[in-house]
């Protein structure tokens, strides 16, 4: 599949890249030719970067995701931002872009700051990550269960959660119909 790229869009992306590099320390920015900008940064600068990008017009928080890099003992938090239309009827280059902001946190002490005071729509995503990966978001207004019905020893989306083992332990102990008939005799 080809993704049409215009030169103008890339120049604007380059401009944003320069602005970010001059304003923030320790950024690793990759520009891809399909209008995606991958930014890796230290966890301390995430909040200020997110508010800066929001002010630049990237006010649509599309997704907060997390990668469990178990061999390197770290979680990688992923924030994906894009822009709404500035003009209701005309499409501009800016809306084509997605900014993927990434940072690492320790896997042993899985704690991070909430971003709900910058993006209101972050609330359910952080609840989900809390439930599925066991990450605690400090300052979150309601870190209550969202989808799961019980607590797990290892949060289920972590790589060391063994699905097969879990199924055997949970459902393997239920006697089969044949076994139950044996018991009643």
């Amino acid at each position: 599949m080809t993704y049409a790229v215009s030169k103008k869009g890339n120049i604007n992306m380059e401009l944003l890249k320069q602005k970010l590099l001059s304003g923030f320390n320790g950024l690793d920015i990759q520009l891809r030719d399909d209008q995606r900008m991958f930014i890796s940064t230290e966890k301390e600068s995430i909040l200020s970067l997110l508010s800066y990008l929001k002010n630049e017009g990237y006010e649509h928080l599309a997704l907060i995701s997390c990668n469990d890099w178990i061999n390197q003992e770290k979680f990688e938090l992923v924030y994906i931002l894009s822009a709404y239309m500035a003009d209701d009827n005309h499409y501009q280059e800016k809306e084509k872009r997605s900014i993927i902001l990434k940072t690492n946190i320790s896997r042993k002490v899985a704690k991070f700051m909430t971003i709900t005071n910058i993006f209101n729509s972050a609330e359910p995503y952080e609840r989900e990550l809390h439930e599925m990966f066991g990450i605690i978001f400090e300052g979150h207004p309601r870190l209550t269960p969202l989808m799961l019905e019980r607590e797990y020893e290892v949060p289920p989306f972590r790589k060391d959660f063994d699905s097969q083992n879990y199924v055997d332990n949970t459902f393997g102990k239920i006697p089969s119909i044949a076994e139950r008939k044996e018991g009643t005799k």
């Binding site: 997704l63 709404y84 997605s98 729509s121 799961l148 289920p156």
Partner: protein, 366 residues
Amino acid sequence: MRELELFYGPQHLGMVGNFSITLKVEGDRIIKADANPGYLHRGFEKLMEQRTWMQNFPLVCRINVVEPDHMELIYSMGVEKLAGIEVPERGKFIRSIFCEMARVGSHLFGLWAYANMLGFDTVANWAMYHRDLLLDLFEELTGARVYHIYLRPGGVRRDFPEGFTDKLIETLHKIGGKVPDYNTTFFENSLFKQRAEGIGIVTREEAIRMGAVGHTIKATGMKYDIRKIEPYDAYDQVDFDIPVRTDGDAYSRLLAIRDDMIESVHLIFKLIDKMPKNGAVYTKTPNPFKWNIPKGETYVRCESSRGELGLYMVSNGGNKPYRVHFNTPSYNHGLTVLEKALVGESVSDVGNIMISLYVVAPEIDR
């Protein structure tokens, strides 16, 4: 007046799908709403990390029951981007036609849900009948009525059979011919207008603040549509319009959905006209059991019938995805927008607002 806690769903006449809302009410007015989507317990994203790239197709289409095709499309787009696969020209057109058929079917299903919930049984039956006509075409093309597994990385599974486009055009004319009847019995019916007008208003500022997409933002006047913003497949080769409304209430949202459906029908005609007459429909991919995709990550998006649909996918160089995370439109609409839009409304309008926001519960669960 005394405050009461009311459990709305998962077993409730006004509720569609496996979803529940805990309401705090004072008399008939809602003070607070707490959405609870966890009734499916599927763990699809975890399961997909344990299956090969191609084995995931039967899972991915089941994420959204109403329109599985856009789910297949977004997953194929993700794999194509990671593996660097191109789709042949005719394949692109077939994909777009197929996805527009899915959009019309999905809107008809939504119309059924809305009409059925409000007691307009005649309209609901018409909508279901017309969706069934489309399902017959899907069956002829793919062998399955609901979960088609037709799209694949690199194109589509097979070409259109002989005479398929003629049948498709005939069916669409049949559906289009019924639109005036839909208008008089439902969309312009004063009984329906009284129920939907001024209900569940989401303003532009609120929509942007809460991350709304799809018809929720189109009903505030913004032509936010990924088919135009970041054209994929054959959408950049045809001319079409994005219908919008300006009031932001349930009625505007529903009219935006109706207009979108009509626009989709026109779009299919235009796509059929422009489609290359022959050529390959898919690019060959390696043996699925030995297919390792290079290390990398990607974020792709497309426009499903509910709004912007995204996929964040990571490969660590193996034969399975390392991480798959879907950004589904119902997620924001069902958890953030719904909770806000319900406050101050009447208990009898909960189902009304929920369906007008186009929430499909299976999309929310992970």
